[in-house]
Symmetry: C2
Subunit: 183 residues, 2 copies
């Protein structure tokens, strides 16, 4: 049994399966391939890399230009990754501030929820446009990993669903003092 790792470390190990990378590379890679669904900061990355190096899951290579320190995944690292994967993705904690906002809409200043929703709609529509553009580009390349494309597809699906959800919200949502509030 190898060292236990968390999902953050596992994501780094996963990326390292494609070859040695520096912390900086990893941040960029995560941002590009799964940014919208898996946030991580450089602080976390350097911490997890240090932890993993300590436990022999990765080995630092020679420092290249500009102090770049590439890490390579070891056999133990691959084993730890496989163990993490075998545990499955779990349910994960979901915290969507927008939904909290909507739920509490009854107690917000008149108009606030409405403006927040229209802003969100614009944001999601913009995101959708970007995703569609990206799909176009990636879809044309032959070396695109279908898994990455699938993630993108999820983004498209959800962005689209969110926009439609906002459009179909009843007019009472965002209105002040819905009947049942009175007591």
């Amino acid at each position: 049994m190898s060292a236990e790792i968390n999902a953050t470390a596992a994501s780094l190990l996963g990326f390292l399966h494609d070859g040695p990378m520096t912390g900086w590379d990893l941040v960029a890679r995560a941002e590009q391939t799964i940014g919208p669904f898996w946030s991580l900061t450089k602080s976390q990355v350097y911490r997890e890399l240090a932890y993993m190096a300590d436990h022999g899951l990765v080995t630092p290579g020679e420092t290249g230009r500009r102090d770049a320190k590439p890490y390579t995944v070891t056999d133990a690292g691959r084993a730890a990754f496989a163990e993490w994967a075998a545990r499955g993705p779990g349910e994960g904690t979901i915290r969507l501030p927008l939904l909290l906002f909507v739920t509490l809409g009854r107690h917000l200043q008149p108009g606030l929820l409405r403006s927040v929703l229209s802003e969100q709609r614009a944001r999601q529509a913009e995101l959708l446009k970007q995703y569609l553009g990206l799909r176009q580009v990636l879809g044309e390349r032959e070396d695109t990993d279908p898994h990455v494309l699938a993630t993108l597809e999820y983004g498209i699906t959800v962005a689209r669903a969110t926009v439609r959800w906002i459009d179909r919200l009843p007019p009472e949502v965002g209105a002040r003092e819905t009947p049942h509030t009175r007591r």
Copy 2:
């Protein structure tokens, strides 16, 4: 300017706008009305209640049966809530382990991703069924807050979208060693 509060405290304050509640009540209420999109634990609830009582945003009432201590929101509390609301919901950090899993699918044991996806599909379908039943029940009652209903509607929309997304995934997703992996 009143004390700064975080989204967790704000959610509690929001719920308290409907009348005094104990920590226990708040946990239950959150679970019921927004559970799937806004997780919180009792540890957090008691911590935030203590903090807010300290800062005069809520006042504990007399201990009722079984040590139940109901909290009432104060004017300062309402002000703090309004300030939080004025800041808007922000973008929020999203971390969906399933999507990370899919992204890294190329490096998973053959079949693992496939089984994870089919399990997720079942889970989402089950969730969808529950949501639809709940909508039926809540929709018939006249005192249902349309905002709560709207949140539920989002759950339905996304669950449905997720199921369809899984159903439409190309066969390569979950398969071992897609062409571009070879180097």
